[in-house]
């Protein structure tokens, strides 16, 4: 599975304002709403579902990366967005590092296979240090989109 299969380019946020975990998740879900990917009346419920998942263990996987996610019946297909925070946000990551790079994913419950393939793709691509570093340094949505495209085209070594 490729990033272009599920990342909504319009919703990518290069300069997150969030200072806390809660704010970061809200800001990313809001940008999916602004891009028309989710329904307005589901916004709070989706945020709550993502926070509930975080309670069971942070999705901050270290090296400044977090992949908050949930399943939600209001989405018809897998949808995700990317956010970058210059200062980083305390996300209770295992390595204690602040998170600069967020991949947020929402998927319909009846497609568990797609959900896992998307999570796998994110985690596999992010193993590449260069890709990660470039993403964290990105200053605009189009820059991030282009990096994701390059990753989809296997231009990063370990991708």
């Amino acid at each position: 599975m490729k990033f272009s299969d599920f990342i909504s380019a319009k919703s990518i946020k290069a300069e997150l304002k969030a200072q806390t975990k809660d704010e970061a998740i809200r800001e990313l879900v809001q940008s999916l709403l602004d891009a028309g990917e989710i329904n307005a009346d589901q916004h709070d419920d989706i945020v709550a579902a993502i926070m509930k998942r975080e309670e069971l263990g942070s999705t901050g996987i270290g090296r400044g990366v977090a992949v908050p996610h949930t399943k939600h019946p209001s989405v018809q297909k897998l949808v995700g967005t990317v956010g970058v925070s210059e200062e980083g946000v305390d996300f209770d990551s295992l390595d204690g590092e602040r998170v600069q790079l967020f991949f947020l994913l929402i998927s319909p419950p009846e497609r568990p296979g797609d959900h896992l393939r998307a999570l796998e793709n994110i985690s596999r691509q992010l193993r590449d240090e260069t890709f990660c570093r470039f993403l964290k340094q990105s200053k605009s949505g189009p820059d991030i989109s282009q990096l994701l495209q390059e990753a989809d085209d296997n231009q990063f070594a370990s991708g």
Partner: protein, 446 residues
């Protein structure tokens, strides 16, 4: 029955009394010996996660396999194997919340298990129900308490007085379920007009119910905030606090372990978390145990719960509830001044008996003061209810569907929804028409 501990032993006994043919498998020869001597069941020694043992237990032809050992992973593996070997239904008891969360991985679906039951969550739901509104429609057990029921009186200052329900423009996340007037209770319909003093039940997603309350009553009419003290911040205490998180309650939670306290403080920002031992009388005194409207003891130890409950009662707590597992204690706790005892055995029994029912009905309860039944129904393939939208089914005035649970998520349906096979619904049904309604849920051939 895989596992013959407190829960397994009691369930085996209960199923046996209901004339089911029960086999118990446990790894501990002493437990097996005891069960064989005390109960009229077959008990064998072995690991529930081994195919040879399951085969010996004749899991291949069982109607239901219940994996209730003390180890989550064993329960999941064993229930999954039992299902693959031929058990018609298979249920695993799990403790860790991660197993019931499907955001990262759907254990239930992956292992092809019919249900993952958390007894701690079920107990919390039962306790929350006893606190919230003991006489109201019992829906809290449904979908892990995600639907809320709130009973209230229509007050004179409300704008809803004299209006029909359809004119009220209520949110889609909730419904008015029933109306009670002059001792008679009936199923609410869009054409019902509200009078001052009607007792109505609001059913739906908690935020929607909270928001809708202002339609029927002004803020000053609201119930007084109740003080709840919970002793023990384990899974049961945590879920209970989570279920009661609302401005209606002021929560104090006592927990002995400091790390757990810090976690609870994060997860329950509105509750007061106190790092203290609930079995110290001075702690109960200082933290206001004597003025609590409800004191709930759920520390994980029967003896501690009983002692804390007795202390709280003596200090003056209005109502005292305790989780007590050992059936031997059941007789004495009432005499000690504990108003309500909840045990995991009982809450799980209800769920399991539901799974043993034939046909669509999982559970049913009759409401007092009227002809309304609350039904939990499973939707099967090739039944009439799956063939049309809810609006087009002949349900009006006779059956009100309050919630649909699909893929682990619950929502309040609207008129355009179509039921799918595998959905579980909860509905209020007018008992005069129950046979016609149930026939829609049973397969066409029968």
């Amino acid at each position: 029955m895989l596992g013959g501990g407190t829960v397994g032993h009691w369930l085996a006994d209960m199923l046996c009394r209901k004339r089911h043919d029960v086999t118990v498998i446990d790894i501990d020869p002493n437990i097996v010996r005891r069960i064989n001597s005390e109960l009229d069941v077959k008990a064998i020694v072995g690991s529930a996660a081994q195919s040879t043992v399951l085969f010996q237990g004749d899991v291949l032809s069982t109607d239901i396999c219940l994996a209730v050992t003390g180890v989550d992973e064993v329960n999941i593996v064993a229930a999954s194997m039992a299902k693959a070997l031929g058990a018609r239904r298979s249920i695993a008891r799990v403790y860790a919340p991660a197993f019931s969360d499907l955001s990262t991985f759907d254990y239930r679906q992956h292992f092809n298990i019919d249900s993952l039951l958390s007894l701690e969550q079920l107990s919390a739901v039962t306790l929350a129900r006893a606190i919230r509104n003991p006489d109201a429609i019992p829906l809290e057990h449904f979908a892990r308490g995600q639907l809320e029921v709130y009973e209230m009186d229509v007050c004179p200052s409300s704008d809803a007085v004299g209006k029909k329900l359809r004119e009220l423009k209520l949110s889609g996340g909730m419904r008015v379920g029933s109306i009670q007037r002059e001792g008679r209770k009936w199923l609410a319909s869009a054409e019902d007009e509200l009078h001052v003093g009607d007792r109505i039940s609001l059913i739906g997603m908690p935020e929607a119910v909270e928001a809708a309350r202002s339609n029927f009553s002004t803020t000053s009419d609201r119930r007084k905030q109740q003080r709840i003290m919970i002793a023990g911040g384990g899974e049961t205490g945590f879920h209970l606090a989570r279920l009661l998180s609302s401005p209606d309650y002021r929560l104090t939670l006592l927990e002995r372990d400091l790390d757990r306290c810090e976690l609870l403080a994060k997860l329950l920002p509105d509750a007061t978390i106190v790092h203290a031992n609930a079995n110290r009388r001075s702690v109960l005194e200082d933290e206001g145990g004597g003025t609590a409207d409800f004191f709930v003891a759920c520390t994980g130890s029967d003896e501690s719960n009983i002692m804390a409950g007795v202390e709280a009662r003596e200090l003056g707590a209005s109502r005292v509830m305790a989780v007590v597992e050992r059936p031997d204690y059941a007789n004495v706790v009432g005499k000690l001044g504990i108003d309500r005892v909840v045990s995991e055995r009982e809450v799980v029994a209800r769920q399991i008996l539901g799974f043993l029912n034939e046909g669509a009905v999982i559970s049913q309860t009759r409401l007092p003061n009227g002809k309304i039944g609350v039904y939990e129904l499973e939707v099967s393939d090739r039944t009439k209810v799956t063939c049309a939208t809810l609006a087009d089914l002949p349900l009006s005035g006779r059956c009100l569907i309050m919630g649909i649970q699909r893929e682990g998520f619950i929502r309040v349906p609207n008129a355009d929804d179509i039921l799918h096979a595998g959905d579980i619904i909860v509905a209020l049904i007018d008992l005069d028409h129950v046979d016609e309604i149930l026939s829609l849920f049973n397969s066409k051939s029968s």
